[in-house]
């Protein structure tokens, strides 16, 4: 009976070929982050590939030139379909979890100017989020008329924890048999302005509507989130679009609403009002009936798909031909609209729209002085940051980002 014992020993010896499990717990608490004196840009890049795609966060000192690549470089994010927001000098990377909660990773720049993960916390999958004061307001919005509720969450950017939440009955809010679907959130005078589109939220046409020719903004007190009123305008269609901001506030406190006029019903575009900009004057709670800026007329047949507010009444707009209008399409021509003088200028110095494959739609970057807006453009050969000089409406090719499209351009600062 010697053999069996030998065998047992052999088996148990072999069991010691075990891999060790390296726990690298990166949590370092949650220090206070003062604004620093050195600025760096954080660029989120999504590699162009059919599957297995994750976003990479790259940091650069300068957007006006140079080359950076995702190859062997960048902080890998867990998957794509991530969204980014910067507040309180912290960079938040949110996973769009298909209706389920997901981890949000928070980064700061450390003393060497490198991204440092300071915390993870859990968030619901939301369809709208924006900084309000030192907080971020997030909203998870139902697209199902049988559960017509939007949940909102207040995130403290000091503690990186949620400090309040509540629900809004979006069927009651819409008050027309459909439900309200918030397109985005904008802070106006300390309040949460939440433009919405009216949607059927049913069946095979969840985002269709029978009310294509109105725009609405629900106004909520903040932080109580008490409903105050709905501001309506029937000269436009919905303000913003799905997951898209349509509202900006200028230095005077006037509020400008951009409508793409892409309302649809059963797949047919049904808005008869044009893509336009309307205004709520500072301190008022109705649209100014005397202000209407018809962008389709001003541009000669183009409507706006996205906007970035640069400053001094200047908006950088992505424009698309009215003939190609679509609910989710992205314009590849850039223009500057001066809402004070109602002038419209095409941006020059950019690649021809036909040569542009993709553009950064939601997270372009406007400099604090309002002089430059940096936009991401992917051509057939690479991706570039183009810096649009607002005063001259000319763009200059800047940083090249190899191996991926630019999904976000943000700014953080640190102290060396």
């Amino acid at each position: 009976m010697n053999k069996p014992y030998f065998l047992l020993v052999a088996i148990f010896l072999s069991l010691f070929f075990i891999s060790c499990d390296n726990d690298d717990n990166g949590d370092t608490g949650d220090p206070e982050i003062p604004s620093g004196d050195v600025t760096k840009y954080v660029i989120a890049a999504t590699p162009t590939a059919s599957e297995g795609v994750a976003d990479y966060l790259l940091t650069v000192d300068d957007l006006t030139g140079g080359v950076i690549s995702t190859q062997g470089n960048g902080v890998e994010q867990d998957g794509t379909y991530r969204y980014y927001v910067t507040s309180n000098n912290k960079f938040y990377s949110l996973l769009y979890g298909q209706g389920n909660p997901g981890a949000v990773t928070t980064y700061i720049l450390d003393a060497d100017g490198e991204l440092e993960k300071i915390s993870d916390f859990q968030s619901e999958t939301v369809q709208a989020f924006a900084p309000i004061g030192d907080e971020i307001l997030l909203a998870k919005i139902s697209r199902n008329i049988d559960e017509p509720f939007a949940s909102w969450y207040r995130l403290s950017t000091e503690s990186n924890q949620f400090v309040g939440e509540g629900q809004i009955n979006t069927e009651v809010l819409a008050n027309n048999g459909e439900v309200a679907f918030f397109t985005w959130i904008t802070e106006v005078d300390g309040k949460a302005y939440m433009p919405y589109m009216s949607v059927k939220a049913c069946c095979n046409d969840r985002f269709g509507t029978s009310y294509p020719d109105s725009g609405w903004i629900a106004v909520f007190d903040y932080p109580s989130m008490e409903f105050e009123k709905v501001i309506t305008d029937d000269r436009i269609s919905g303000i913003g679009r799905y997951f898209t901001n349509g509202l900006s506030v200028d230095e005077k406190g006037d509020v400008y609403a951009v409508s793409s006029a892409v309302s649809s019903n059963n797949g047919e575009l049904t808005a008869s009002n044009p893509g336009a900009i309307v205004r709520i004057n500072s301190g008022e709670d109705e649209f100014d009936p005397n202000y209407f800026f018809d962008l389709e007329q001003a541009s000669g047949g183009y409507y706006p798909t996205f906007h970035v507010y640069a400053g001094q009444g200047k908006f950088v707009l992505n424009m698309e031909a009215v003939a190609d209008r679509g609910t989710y399409s992205t314009g590849k021509k850039y223009a500057i609209a001066d809402v004070y003088n109602k002038t419209f200028t095409w941006v020059t110095g950019l690649p021809d729209a036909d040569d542009i494959v993709l553009v950064t739609s939601r997270n372009n970057f406007a400099s604090a002085d309002g002089k430059t807006v940096a936009v991401g453009i992917t051509t057939q050969t690479s991706s570039y940051v183009y810096n649009i000089d607002i005063a001259t409406a000319t763009a200059t090719q800047g940083l090249e980002v190899q191996g991926g499209k630019i999904t976000a351009i943000h700014e953080l600062s640190y102290t060396e």
Partner: protein
């Protein structure tokens, strides 16, 4: 078999001789194994003379020669002890022999190298096929799915414990690219109550794994291969029951019975049930239910992962009657219940959402050799599944990993408010016609027809049905093949036609007035032709080389076309996946000494696939949608080595390396080479293997008492979740090693006890992103054989 052509020639020559010379001596008989099963292809010779023959598929042989005098009749077959008998014959007389060959190889619990004729017969086909002798695994507590995990080239990936979603990757192909069949019948749309990882291994006699090229008789549109479970043959009365109990409150119960009656009557019952709480511990970041703050690296039990299923398969039929070799009616009924603990990621946790499924599947099987015409064989199979699936998510709560939740007042669900219930009404009919030509070759014609008609509703939203009209799909795959056997060569050439018709109606609103619905009927169809060939050659009885090529297609699945109405949105414009597969393999058997045997098997493979059907998020980003994405080239090698000593010891191992490379040189709209062109496909294990050993102590303490000690080890090399060449701060899945140890104690034939420890060292095992698998588990099993 390979000698058939010689035999035919011989018979034909002898026929001529007979005509010329008249009176001959006739020696005839039947060659069987110890269980009275015919041995096909055994060689029968009169030693010292040029005369002999080969046994046919019934084990019968005839030798007609003008001979007289004393001879030694020798019957032999690979894996059996050679039979010798001295005979004395007179001219013109007839002699009958009943020859029983004894198995020469070890027939204990180690996997036998030879002597298992069916196993080796399948292995020796021209196709690249691996066979698991499931009977050898009946003394473990495995299910069919986990048995597959031990085969070279296969990685089973699952999202959790018992009853969790299981995904099999076969030489780089995964998901629906690999088809499952049971007794040659495709297992499409069987529902959640009858899946690989809830079928006990006791159901199976053997499992054939075709890598790459699949024989047309299986009638499947498999792109990357097929797994065919052969259920136990109904030879004699049998009755056995087994019960196992293990960690995480896991119970498995199985009864198997076969009753044979007069006039070929056969009744068969297979009942099995699985139950598990799956409450194993996982390391997670648990979020505070209100603030979202994480308590990092908590070691917490899963709390909402109960699974149970119960299934009964009963059949009644006849065998070896004038109108049928086999005719049976079978009924499968079963149900399953599954709680859903997590979403696609471990951070997403649920506490009440669950699913229920049923299977009600009558089936008919018919086999007849020499149907009307001699050498024309027919096989018919048909089934229809009346089963249903239901998704129940009715509590508007948000849970965390600590099991705490907050509840909202209004109606809603954890993910999506639902009690949606649907039936897929899936039917299948398949027919195989084989015509065996006299020269040993054969012609095969096969046709498989699938139908699907989904109907569903949700009691919560009775008005919503209006927009979800029935969805229909018809799929037909027909194949024509020619199998040729010439001396030591074996070849197949075949052609397959793939046809799919989708009928659907799209709802639209004719007036624009809210709620107005009308329908437009639409139809699309696909018709494709694939082909291939397979060749094998025996250089001698111990060394075989095989090679095959196929241009193959995989049709979109009904769920991919129509969605599952839960998380998957349908895509009616999906195109079939397409691949060129090439295999080159060699097998070597070596009897070192009488007691020592070695088998080495190695296979090189090449796959060039495009239009992969892969998930992406839909435009609204609430559901996944399947789309044709990407081109992949996969080259790899798998090797298996196995050694036996005496009846007591065997050891083996396999290793697979697959080099899956992205073959998309230019992404859509780009004129520069993709940054991940030729990069390794992420989130796929590329180097992995198994090792196993077993030792049996025979006649321990008492005669007939037997103790078997078994070991199985698994190694998976670490891999990246996302493209390896990108980023410098990356997410990965580390190397994984796990060890299972099994102790089996048998008291004669009747009673058997098994104790099994899986993941002995309690290593952290992962699959599919961050989802953790169970740690160490201990299971005990008792099996009793009544008959």
């Amino acid at each position: 078999m390979k000698y058939n052509i010689l035999y035919t020639l011989l018979v034909w020559c002898m026929g001529l001789i007979q005509m010329a010379w008249g009176q001959e001596t006739e020696l005839s008989g039947r060659v069987t194994n110890a269980e009275n099963q015919p041995i096909i292809g055994a060689s029968i010779a009169l030693e010292g003379s040029p005369y002999g023959g080969i046994s046919d598929e019934n084990g019968r042989f005839v030798i007609r020669e003008k001979i007289e005098g004393e001879y030694t009749l020798v019957a032999s077959y690979l894996g059996y002890t050679t039979y010798r008998q001295g005979i004395k014959v007179n001219v013109g007389d007839k002699y009958k022999f009943a020859i029983k060959l004894e198995s020469a190889a070890i027939t204990i619990d180690g996997i036998t190298v030879s002597g298992k004729t069916e196993l080796r017969e399948v292995r020796e086909k021209a196709y690249n096929v691996t066979v698991i002798d499931a009977l050898q695994l009946h003394n473990t507590t495995l299910d069919v799915g986990h048995a597959l995990d031990r085969i070279s080239g296969i990685r089973v990936r699952e999202s959790g414990g018992v009853g969790s979603q299981m995904n099999i990757s076969l030489n780089g192909f995964r998901g629906k690219q690999v088809r499952f069949l049971i007794d040659g019948i495709p297992m499409d749309n069987f529902g959640s109550a009858f899946q690989m990882n809830n079928i006990p291994i006791h159901l199976a006699e053997r499992i054939e794994v075709y890598k790459g090229v699949v024989p047309i008789g299986l009638g499947a549109d498999a792109l990357g291969g097929a797994i065919n479970i052969i259920t136990r043959a109904q030879k004699r009365n049998e009755l056995e029951a087994s019960y196992s109990f293990g960690s995480f409150n896991t119970h498995r119960f199985n009864i198997y019975g076969v009753f044979t009656g007069e006039n070929g009557l056969i009744a068969k019952v297979n009942a099995f049930a699985n139950y598990s709480d799956n409450d194993y511990k996982v390391a997670v970041d648990a979020a505070d239910i209100n603030t979202g703050a994480y308590f990092p690296k908590q070691n917490l039990r899963r709390f909402h992962d109960q699974y149970h299923n119960q299934t009964l398969i009963a059949s009644i039929g006849v065998r070896d009657v004038s109108y049928a070799d086999h005719l049976s009616a079978e009924m499968t009924v079963g149900s399953s219940y599954k709680e859903i603990q997590t979403g696609a990621r471990i951070v997403t946790v649920f506490g009440a959402w669950h699913r229920r499924g049923t299977i009600i599947k009558p089936a008919l099987k018919y086999q007849k050799k020499d149907l009307g015409i001699e050498n024309l064989d027919l096989t018919l199979n048909a089934h229809y599944n009346f089963g249903s699936e239901q998704n129940i998510d009715t509590l508007n709560r948000r849970y965390n990993w600590l099991g705490q939740y907050k509840e909202y007042e209004n109606d809603g669900g954890e993910r999506s408010y639902s009690t949606y219930k649907y039936r897929n009404n899936n039917g299948l009919a398949m027919a195989n016609l084989t015509y065996r030509l006299n020269d040993g070759s054969s012609l095969v014609l096969s046709n498989t027809f699938n139908s699907f008609n989904r109907q569903g509703s949700d009691a919560l939203f009775p008005d919503n049905d209006a927009y979800d009209r029935p969805k229909k799909n018809l799929k037909n795959i027909s194949g024509l093949g020619y199998n040729l056997k010439f001396e030591e060569w074996d070849g197949s050439i075949f052609m397959k036609n793939y046809n799919q018709q989708n009928y659907f109606s799209q709802s639209y609103n004719p007036t624009g007035i809210y709620g107005d619905v009308a329908y437009v009927n639409a139809h699309n169809s696909t018709n494709l032709l694939g082909y291939g060939l397979a060749v094998s050659h025996f250089f001698n009885s111990n060394f075989q080389i095989k090679t095959s090529y196929e241009k193959s297609y995989r049709m979109p699945e009904t769920e991919e076309l129509f969605g599952d109405l839960i998380n998957l949105r349908g895509n009616l414009s999906l195109r079939p996946e397409h691949s060129h597969n090439i295999n080159l393999g060699a097998d070597f058997w070596w009897n070192i000494k009488d007691a020592e045997k070695l088998h080495i098997s190695s296979n090189l493979f090449y796959r060039n696939a495009k239009d992969f059907i892969r998930p992406r998020l839909d435009n609204n980003q609430t559901m996944q949608i399947m789309d044709n994405l990407g081109k992949v080239i996969n080259m790899g090698i798998e090797t298996e080595v196995r050694y036996h000593l005496n009846k007591s010891f065997n050891i083996g191992g396999n290793l697979t390396y697959q080099d899956l490379r992205n073959n998309v040189q230019y992404e859509e709209g780009q004129t520069v080479e993709s940054v991940v062109y030729r990069d390794r496909i992420p989130n796929m294990p590329f180097l992995y293997g198994n090792a196993d050993a077993s030792y049996t102590f025979d006649n321990l303490w008492n005669k007939g008492h037997k103790l078997t000690l078994g070991y199985n080890g698994l190694y998976v090399h670490g891999f990246y979740l996302y493209w390896p060449s990108l980023g410098n701060d990356k997410l990965d899945i580390p190397d994984q090693i796990s060890h299972d140890v099994t102790l089996t104690y048998s008291l004669g034939r009747k009673m058997q006890f098994v104790v099994e420890t899986r993941n002995l060292m309690d290593s952290k095992l992962y699959d599919n992103f961050s989802l953790q698998k169970p740690g160490r588990s201990l299971t005990g099993k008792i099996k009793y054989t009544f008959l």
